[in-house]
C-alpha cells in the first residue's frame, strides 16, 4: 500500500493509528484482512520522518497524527495524479508463446489451469460481494475485482480460441 493513502486519510482531521486502521477496514471490508497493522504504522513513521505529518498529544491524552503544510501539498498532488495498476498480461502471453514454441507444454492446458484459478477467485470475490450490504464501500471495491476477473476470463477465451486454431495447423 502506498503511503499517500495513509496521508490522504489524515487530510480531513488528525487521527490516531488505530482509528486510521479502523477507517481502512471500513473501506476495504473483507479485503482489509490482507493488510497487516504493521503496514499502517510503518507508513506513519515514514511519513513522520519525511516531515509530511507530525504527532501531537491531544487534550484527551491520545497521540494523533496531523498533516504538515508539506503533507497537505503532497495529498493535493497525489489526488490529481493519474495512475492505474498494470495487470501483467505480457508474462502470461509469452508463457504460452514459449510453451508452444518449445513443445514443452500444451498452451491450452496452461490456459485451462489459469481459467480454473480465476474462476475460483471470481467465486470468492462474488461471494464476498454478495455478503456486503448494498451501500458498502467495500462492495464497490469487490465489484471492481469481479469485473477485472471477468475481463481476464474473456481474454483467456480469446487465448484458447487462438491456440486451438494454431494446434490444428
Amino acid at each position: 500500500m502506498q503511503q499517500e493513502v495513509v496521508l490522504a486519510l489524515l487530510a480531513k482531521e488528525p487521527s490516531t493509528g488505530s482509528r486510521l486502521r479502523a477507517r481502512l477496514n471500513d473501506a476495504l471490508g473483507p479485503l482489509g484482512e490482507a493488510m497487516n497493522d504493521g503496514q499502517v504504522y510503518v507508513n506513519l513513521s515514514r511519513l513522520e520522518k519525511t516531515g509530511l505529518i507530525v504527532r501531537e498529544t491531544s487534550r484527551a491524552g491520545g497521540r494523533a497524527y496531523q498533516l504538515t503544510p508539506a503533507g497537505q501539498e503532497r495529498v493535493a498532488e497525489w489526488l490529481t495524479e493519474v495512475s492505474w495498476p498494470k495487470p501483467d498480461l505480457a508474462e502470461f502471453h509469452l508463457k504460452l508463446v514459449a510453451a508452444a514454441q518449445a513443445g514443452l507444454a500444451d498452451p491450452i492446458g496452461i490456459v485451462d489451469a489459469q481459467r480454473r484459478e480465476l474462476l475460483r477467485r471470481l467465486r470468492d470475490a462474488g461471494r464476498a460481494a454478495m455478503a456486503e450490504p448494498d451501500d458498502s464501500e467495500a462492495g464497490l471495491l469487490l465489484e471492481g475485482i469481479v469485473l477485472r476477473l471477468q475481463a481476464d476470463l474473456r481474454w483467456l477465451e480469446a487465448c484458447e480460441r487462438r491456440w486451438t486454431k494454431q494446434r490444428g495447423k
Binding site: G32, M35, L119, A125, G144
Partner: protein, 247 residues
C-alpha cells in the same frame, strides 16, 4: 442413502438431434452427467453450444433423441406426453431469462398458479405462495402486477413460482440475462440462500459471474462437455492479493 437418493440427475449418452442427412445438427451429443442432491451446477458455453437444449431435456420440456436420463432415480427418457407434463409440474422448477410471468396476474397469483395446476386446494396454494413470496423477500409486493415490479423483483417472483410444488430440481436458463448488476446481485443472493437450504440447482449461462457462484462448472462446445471445474475449495491466494493490499 443409496445412489438414486444422492443423485438427482443422471444422464448417460444423452443425445438430441435436429434435421437429418447433411443438415443433421447434434445439439446435445452423447452427454454423461450426474448432479448430486443439493448441488449447484453451472453450464457455460457460447450461444448455440447446446446448453439450453440440454436444460430442456433435463426438465422434460423436450425429449431426447437417444440415451438415458433419470430424475431422482426414475427413468424419464421415454415418458409419455402426459408423464412429461406431470414431471414438469411436480418435480422440476423453471426460471427463464424473460421471467415468463403472467402479466394480468398479481405476484401472489403467479406464484399460486403452479400449485393450483398441480391440484392443490386454493387455500393451500395461497398459503404456500405467501410463504414463498416471504422467502424471496417480496411479501409486501404480493398484490402487485409484474408491470409494477422491477426486473430483479420479477425474477424473484419467478423463482418463488418455480418452488411452488417443492421441486426436486430447479433449472434456470440465463436467469440474470435481462438484469442490471444490482438486480443480478439480488438474484444471486437469493439463489445462494436457496442453495444453502439444500436446493439442487442447474444454471445455464454465458456470464462467468453467475457461473462462478456454483459448486461446479461445466463448459460446453458443439453439444459436448469439454471442461469441468470444481469451484468449491477456495483459491490458493487471498482476495487482498488481487488488489495490491498484500506485501
Amino acid at each position: 442413502m443409496n445412489g438414486s437418493d444422492a443423485t438427482i440427475v443422471r444422464a448417460r449418452g444423452l443425445r438430441k438431434e435436429y434435421g437429418s442427412g447433411e443438415g443433421l445438427v447434434r445439439a446435445v451429443d452423447e452427454v454423461d452427467l450426474d448432479v448430486a442432491r443439493g448441488e449447484a451446477l453451472a453450464i457455460m458455453g457460447p450461444s448455440g453450444c447446446g446448453k439450453s437444449t440440454l436444460l430442456q431435456l433435463l426438465g422434460g420440456l423436450d425429449r431426447p433423441t437417444g440415451g438415458e436420463l433419470w430424475l431422482a432415480g426414475r427413468s424419464i427418457d421415454r415418458l409419455s406426453e402426459r408423464g412429461l407434463a406431470q414431471l414438469r409440474r411436480h418435480d422440476v422448477g423453471f426460471v427463464f431469462q424473460a421471467f415468463h410471468l403472467m402479466d394480468e396476474l398479481t405476484a401472489q397469483e403467479n406464484v399460486e398458479l403452479p400449485a393450483l395446476l398441480a391440484g392443490r386446494s386454493p387455500r393451500e396454494a395461497r398459503q404456500r405462495a405467501r410463504q414463498l413470496l416471504e422467502r424471496v423477500g417480496l411479501a409486501d409486493r404480493a398484490g402487485h402486477l409484474p408491470s409494477a415490479l422491477s426486473g430483479g423483483q420479477r425474477q424473484r417472483v419467478a423463482i418463488a413460482r418455480s418452488l411452488a410444488n417443492e421441486p426436486k430440481l430447479v433449472l434456470a436458463d440465463e436467469p440474470t440475462g435481462n438484469l442490471d448488476s444490482g438486480a443480478t446481485l439480488e438474484v444471486l443472493r437469493l439463489f445462494e440462500a436457496l442453495h444453502t437450504s439444500g436446493l439442487t440447482l442447474v444454471v445455464v449461462t454465458h456470464d462467468e459471474r453467475i457461473a462462478a457462484t456454483a459448486d461446479r462448472l461445466i463448459s460446453m462446445r458443439d453439444g459436448a462437455f469439454v471442461d469441468e471445474t470444481r469451484l468449491v475449495g477456495g483459491t490458493t491466494g487471498s482476495l487482498g492479493a488481487l488488489v495490491g493490499l498484500e506485501g
